[in-house]
């Protein structure tokens, strides 16, 4: 039977699932909108998987909801998205030295040398220049996000847009639009502003060398891709599975985790229809007032997190104790 590995990347904007085979070929890639409901989206993704007679032998999760996904699926490995993206990229693009990754809320730059991560940075307190901002602007201008980049490419003279802060960028765009600039020029200007912001904010001080890979949902935007090429003067490679690279990385890590015949912790495909209950409460045990989130499956608590002291860790709490919180 075909041995398959499932990689799941649950991010703010999208939830991606990848089925990979023993030869690290991607058999199926799913890109779903998280829409603020990570649990349901994971289940929806599971129900859409086509195993074609194969069997899932390992599961890896990544992304900001990686722990949630791991609890629900029964994961063999849980990894941060920086490592996952780096693993995927260096497998698909041998020799890669720079990864530009722009996702929904996060943008990151990863520098690799000799196949290992030597430096990285992530946007910290600012989400200007990420996928959700582009989404929002596309919505405001009533264009499909899928068409954004192609419209931008038709521009002859991109206007200059302030890219430092998404709030300023938006008002700048509105001002330019009210002056009568064309839509392609405004969109192309926004692409340039985003790239400028990314390179100054996330990429500052980093040694960007070819080959450069651009991945994450925003890599679909050809306008941004061209703006990067112009700003860096380098060829930008967008890999085939650019939008699900985190999940690809998680699948590769899952394959490594179960190598040597370790049985997988995967709960099975029927997880798609299980009744998971996510709830939260504020612990009043001390002045920290931690927000505790718990994930339950029928009457069992699968996982709990959010506490600073660790007293809500699952293995040590019986369901009865939750009542008293």
């Amino acid at each position: 039977m075909n041995r398959l590995y499932l990689g799941v990347d649950v991010g703010s904007v999208s939830t991606n699932l990848v089925l990979m085979d023993e030869n690290r070929e991607v058999r199926q890639g799913l890109y779903l909108r998280t829409q603020g409901r990570p649990l349901e989206t994971i289940q929806k993704g599971l129900s859409q998987l086509k195993l074609d007679g194969g069997m899932i032998n390992g599961v890896g999760t990544t992304g900001s909801a990686r722990n949630l996904a791991a609890a629900v699926l029964g994961a063999d490995v849980v990894k941060n998205e920086i490592t996952a993206h780096a693993v995927a990229s260096s497998n698909l693009v041998p020799g890669v030295q720079t990864i530009l990754e722009i996702g929904g809320q996060d943008s990151k730059i990863i520098i690799l040398r000799n196949g290992v991560v030597s430096d990285f940075a992530m946007n910290t307190v600012c989400a200007a220049g990420t996928g959700s901002f582009l989404d929002q602007q596309a919505g405001r201008l009533d264009i499909e996000i899928e068409d954004f980049g192609d419209i931008a490419l038709t521009s002859k003279l991109p206007v200059r847009i302030a890219g430092r802060c998404s709030v300023f960028a938006e008002s700048d765009m509105i001002h330019k639009q009210q002056l009568g600039h064309s839509m392609p020029d405004i969109l192309a200007g926004l692409c340039e502003a985003m790239v400028r912001n990314y390179l100054n904010n996330v990429g500052k001080g980093k040694d960007i060398q070819a080959p450069v890979v651009f991945q994450g949902g925003v890599a679909a935007n050809r306008g941004i891709r061209r703006a990067f090429e112009q700003a860096l003067g380098l060829e930008i490679i967008v890999p085939e599975h650019f939008s699900v690279m985190g999940a690809v990385g998680a699948a590769i890590l899952a394959q490594e985790a179960v190598a040597g015949g370790k049985p997988s912790c995967f709960r099975g495909l029927n997880t798609a229809t299980s009744q998971f209950i996510a709830s939260s409460f504020e612990c009043s045990g001390c002045p920290n007032l931690c927000e505790i989130v718990q994930i339950g499956l029928e009457d069992n608590v699968l996982a709990r997190w959010g506490d600073r002291c660790g007293k809500w860790a699952v293995q040590e709490v019986s369901p009865a104790e939750t009542e008293t919180a």
Partner: protein, 373 residues
């Protein structure tokens, strides 16, 4: 007089000891929490840093519990902190909360000026008693630093890190309750022996990470999402460039006492990269990173609250330190965010990075030892 002092990690323990010793009523604000932050954010200028906002929250809480006087430390130089006490008093006055302000600082560097202010807080108490109180409180600060460092050691090595947290909490309570110098020493001794009694991981040599940066975020776990605990539970041994006693010694006593892990040499270490004061601990941040690199640490994490000027300067110089001393450095800004997912992602990725770097260096040095020469 009912005096209060804003929180900054464990500093409440020595401050409370000072006033208890002098028999002056002390109002301890509730520990920093989401509530403190909401209160503080509501009443602070938007561009102020996180510590300022938490201060405001603490002071409003303390006033509600009857405090009528606030004690603050001041400072000179380009960091805005030196003026926080006055600004906070004025903001509170606008809210109808009138607190008297005593700023503990040596104005123009004169110790007699400092003494006058201490006397202001201590009231009619005789000088020998005041000096006794200061010594006792400083003893608690030193003990707290030792305890924190014992916990730094225990967290990554304990099989069950939760037990290390329990020992830590117990030590905080006991240190607060200690009534004399002997009692203070006993808490440190007991903590040490409790940690010795922990079941440890076999043959485990943790990665070592040094934390540098702005003092409040370094010392106050609420403001930095308890980064030390997260790192410890991820199996990392943590040290930091600033401990409470060092700060009190430098800010209040002008270096008169001996501090725990004294950092007076950090300014000199910073020299090749930053030879001018930039306010706050900007220079010490650079010096601290150099110090950690020289002591063979595997990585450095730089912490600062958003809009902190001295640390912004330091952040722009740290890549040079990283490059020339070959030590990975990661800068983390903290502000109002309550979610920890982003922080954990960065910490985990950073640990992956330094772990691989360490293994690679070991491989290279093995090769050189065996095949070189």
């Amino acid at each position: 007089m009912k005096i209060t002092f804003p929180h900054m990690g464990n500093i409440w323990i020595p401050v409370k000891a000072l006033f208890d010793y002098l028999d002056i009523e002390f109002v301890l604000p509730p520990q920093n929490s989401k509530r403190t932050l909401s209160l503080g954010t509501q009443h602070s200028p938007e561009g102020a840093c996180l510590p300022f906002k938490l201060n405001i929250g603490n002071l409003i809480d303390a006033a509600a519990q009857g405090a009528d006087t606030m004690l603050m430390t001041g400072g000179v130089g380009p960091c805005r902190f030196g003026y926080y006490g006055d600004l906070e008093r004025d903001i509170l006055a606008d809210l109808g909360i009138n607190l008297k302000l005593i700023t503990l600082e040596p104005p123009d560097g004169s110790l007699t000026g400092l003494a006058r202010r201490i006397k202001l807080a201590a009231g009619d108490k005789p000088w020998p008693r005041i000096i006794g109180a200061v010594k006792f409180a400083y003893g608690k600060a030193l003990a707290m630093d030792r305890i924190e460092d014992i916990i730094h050691w225990a967290r990554p090595r304990a099989l069950n890190p939760r037990l290390a947290e329990e020992i830590y909490r117990q030590a905080q309570t006991e240190l607060d309750q200690a009534r004399d110098a002997k009692g203070v020493d006993r808490v440190v001794r007991d903590t040490r022996s409790r940690v010795r009694g922990l079941a440890l991981k076999q043959d485990y040599e943790p990665l070592r990470v040094g934390i540098v940066g702005e003092i409040y975020t370094l010392l106050d776990p609420f403001s930095c999402h308890d980064i030390e605990r997260h790192l410890g539970h991820l199996g990392v041994h943590v040290d930091r460039s600033i401990y409470i006693s060092g700060w009190i010694n430098e800010h209040v006593f002008q270096g008169l006492y001996k501090a725990y892990k004294d950092i007076s040499h950090h300014k000199a270490l910073a020299k090749p990269f930053l030879n001018h004061t930039v306010g706050g601990h900007g220079q010490e941040t650079i010096g601290g990173a150099v110090d950690f690199a020289r002591h063979g640490f595997d990585g450095v994490i730089h912490l600062l609250p958003l809009t902190c000027m001295p640390e912004i300067v330091a952040a722009s110089i740290l890549p040079q330190v990283s490059k020339s001393l070959q030590i990975p450095v990661m800068t983390l800004y903290v502000d109002e965010q309550a979610g920890e997912a982003g922080l954990l992602t960065r910490l985990e990725a950073f640990i992956d990075l330094i772990d691989r770097e360490k293994r690679m260096n070991r491989r290279i040095s093995d090769e050189q030892t065996v095949l070189g020469g």
